[in-house]
């Protein structure tokens, strides 16, 4: 059977067909659609495969590890920066190892289409010392998710599938395999495997180190890594992940140079050695950081290795066929310049968005009473408040940082300091920061701009829905300083008044302007109508 699938959907389908019992994730572009696909998949629903959203990537990955502990196959998905949130579990899960197959799918975003950095998750996998699968196309994405559980079970460690935006969000035809049954519930044969007490952890860690050679040997013979012979040995090319496509785009009738396609790591040392011995110089094509290139070049900077480090390719940003053509000294049709008339068209808040009311009033209060530079914000649609016409926020760093950075600034004397955070970001990573602020009675005002949805990624359910006041009170914010507002035009005066009062208060205040995301609202109505039919 064939289906036309996005790269991310191919991974989801591959995981379902590969016998997965549950996926755990927090939304993040470009990884979101993996979990959404599983949530909407008929077979997954019938089998009751777990697919509900987690509060953040750390809780997601830990839940997945718990599922693996029971012998079931599981996947945890996130965007690259989400792996930072889950890093504590990630680094230790390689030491505990797995029971049921465990795939960690991470979607990197080179060129930062929807992200605050372009970190390369292959680095993280090396840090944790686990194998990585990096599909070059939609079919491989499917195949790797399908067979990744077996690889994970064979070696007893989590396996990373690493993709980048371009494959994540590109469709192609995928041939599906037969559906494998789920694993039976079966606890680990070693009862202390998952107890990382130092005495046990040392043993477990030695076990992980001892497996490294096997990981490499497996990569040598992996069907995902191929050595393609070529007669012109003046140059040999290592093409990682999707970069093989950009190479072949430039050589539609076959590449004259020997090519090593790499889609499984650790690097297949013997194949690399063969290419290095056969060819005069090596060009490395990789999406993301120059990890393979740096390996080969080494500290002694071997001059016959080129790639992103010596300027053959740009040091940052995603690759494309034109950049690869230039690295190969091939002609391109990349001639015309974009007309000067063309203006940038940045993303904008939707007409009728509640964040608009929040920023309109906030800007007015600040302009009337305070100096600029005191609004610490966070990650979500409301980050668009950084752009004109609002120019309303001064920071956006990582999930939850608005509250803690405001606290630090207030500690330093910037009073009042204001935090603007969304509902889903608040429950993702804002609650612990709020606890810090409460414990020190920091003079900060936190605006939780609540649109009852995780909107930037497409309106997924928010873990915060219906709970924000109780959470704040539970953490210790005084109920008198938890204010809920309806952010609409006719309430601007009231919003102004409440905001001013709370900014004047010398302690922690939480203001919750609450109105459902208008995109989600429209979708909900559509869904209701559909269900009525």
């Amino acid at each position: 059977m064939q289906k036309v699938l996005l790269g991310v959907e191919a991974i989801a389908q591959g995981a379902i067909d590969g016998g997965m019992s549950g996926v755990y994730a927090y939304p993040g572009t470009p990884s979101t659609e993996i979990t959404e696909y599983i949530q909407n998949n008929k077979y997954a629903k019938e089998k009751n495969l777990h697919s509900a959203w987690s509060a953040n990537e750390k809780t997601a990955m830990e839940s997945a590890l718990g599922m693996s502990y029971t012998g079931k196959r599981t996947m945890s998905c996130m965007k690259h920066v989400g792996l930072n949130v889950a890093a504590d579990c990630f680094m230790n899960a390689s030491v505990t190892g797995v029971n049921g197959g465990f795939i960690i799918t991470v979607a990197d975003d080179p060129s930062m289409h929807s992200s605050q950095n372009e970190q390369d998750s292959r680095f993280f996998a090396k840090f944790a010392q686990i194998p990585v699968l990096e599909p070059s196309n939609q079919q491989e994405a499917y195949d790797m998710a399908y067979s990744g559980f077996q690889l994970s079970e064979k070696f007893g460690v989590p396996v990373m599938i690493r993709i980048t935006t371009r494959l994540a969000h590109s469709r192609s035809i995928v041939e599906l395999k037969e559906v494998l049954p789920e694993n039976e519930l079966k606890l680990p044969s070693n009862p202390t495997q998952f107890i990382l007490l130092p005495s046990i952890a040392r043993k477990q860690y030695k076990g992980l180190l001892n497996k490294q050679k096997q990981f490499e040997q497996d990569a040598e013979v992996s069907s995902f890594n191929n050595y393609i012979e070529g007669s012109d040995k003046s140059k040999g090319i290592i093409a990682c992940g999707i970069s093989i496509n950009y190479l072949m785009e430039n050589y539609p009738d076959g590449c004259p140079h020997p090519v090593l396609k790499v889609s499984q790591y650790p690097l297949p040392r013997k194949l690399i050695q063969k290419l290095y011995d056969e060819c005069t110089e090596i060009l490395v094509l990789e999406e993301g950081y120059p990890i393979v290139e740096e390996h080969l070049k080494g500290y002694m900077e071997k001059e016959n290795v080129s790639g992103r480090l010596n300027g053959a390719l740009p040091r940052d940003g995603e690759l494309n066929p034109d950049l690869v053509a230039r690295a190969l000294n091939l002609p391109t049709t990349d001639k015309a310049e974009t007309s000067d008339l063309v203006a940038g068209r940045p993303p904008a808040l939707c007409a009728g968005c509640s964040h608009h009311d929040v920023y309109t009033v906030l800007n007015k209060v600040i302009a009337d009473h305070y100096t600029l530079g005191r609004v610490f914000s966070d990650i979500g649609c409301y980050t668009i408040g950084a752009l004109p016409p609002y120019n309303a926020i001064n920071t956006c760093v990582d999930m939850g940082a608005s509250i803690t950075m405001a606290k630090g600034a207030a500690d330093a004397g910037l009073v009042p300091a204001i935090s603007v955070i969304g509902d889903s970001t608040f429950t993702h990573s804002g609650i612990t920061g709020l606890l810090d602020a409460v414990n020190e009675n920091s003079p900060i005002t936190i605006i939780i701009s609540d649109n009852e949805s995780t909107s930037m990624t497409g309106g997924q359910d928010s873990a915060a829905k219906g709970k924000i006041e109780e959470i704040c009170e539970g953490v210790g914010v005084h109920p008198d300083h938890i204010k809920v507002l309806l952010p609409i035009a006719k309430n601007h005066d009231e919003m102004y008044k409440v905001l001013k009062e709370e900014l004047d208060f010398n302690g922690v205040s939480v203001i919750i302007p609450r109105r459902v995301c208008i995109q989600k609202h429209a979708r909900d109505i559509k869904m209701k109508r559909k269900n009525l039919k």
Binding site: E33, I173, I242, T332, T333, L341, R345, C381
Partner: protein, 197 residues
């Protein structure tokens, strides 16, 4: 035979429906396809594009090299201009003339249209007006698809119609018919322009 198509517009204008319709037709023809899309932040009113490649042979890159697009379908004129560097020397550009102004520094529309007019193979039409005429403003994208249909190598108008029936079939006969009507209006407009030339 390979056809490289770039679709351009603003988040929310429906370029993915155009891409899906062409993709469906390509599959009916048993062709290969790759379709790179814009998801995420830009979908909130930013510029969005799709690279759609269809071929009778396997396709490598998800992205089209610059200067290699056989067809650009733009549902907004400044977005058409943005992707002109992708157009091949023999390629066609089919664009809506109705601007979508959601930025304060939108250039003078006349200037944008004049630059587009200078291209050798260009079809310009007010697809919003045509969609409004048939009382189906939301079918603007299907008008644009109809206007582009003469330039879809290897995909006949009939197969395109069948693809649309498959995609919108679930939404009921009325929606299918509206989309087919918009498709026909777009095609008629393009045919008129081609004959004049």
């Amino acid at each position: 035979m390979k056809t490289n198509i770039i679709l351009a517009g603003v988040g929310g204008q429906g370029i993915l429906s155009i891409a899906t319709s062409i993709g469906m037709a390509a599959l009916k023809n048993k062709m290969y396809l790759k379709q790179a899309e814009t998801h995420g932040m830009s979908q909130r009113g930013g510029d969005v594009f799709s690279h759609l490649r269809i071929s009778d042979k396997p396709i490598y890159s998800d992205l089209i090299p610059k200067g290699k697009a056989d067809l650009i379908i733009a549902v907004e004129p400044m977005e058409a201009l943005r992707y002109v560097p992708y157009l091949s020397e023999t390629g066609y550009l089919v664009t809506n003339t109705k601007p979508f102004k959601n930025i304060p520094n939108y250039p003078e529309v006349e200037k944008v249209l004049n630059q587009l007019k200078k291209l050798s193979n260009v079809i310009m039409l007010d697809a919003d007006a045509i969609a409004a005429e048939i009382k189906s403003k939301r079918s603007m994208n299907m008008v644009m698809l109809g206007a582009s249909s003469p330039f879809l190598n290897g995909i006949t108008y009939k197969i395109l119609q069948e693809g649309i029936k498959d995609i919108f079939g679930k939404k009921g006969e009325d929606i299918v018919n509206k989309n087919l009507e918009a498709l026909a209006c777009g095609k008629a407009e393009a045919d008129k322009i081609i004959t004049k030339k």
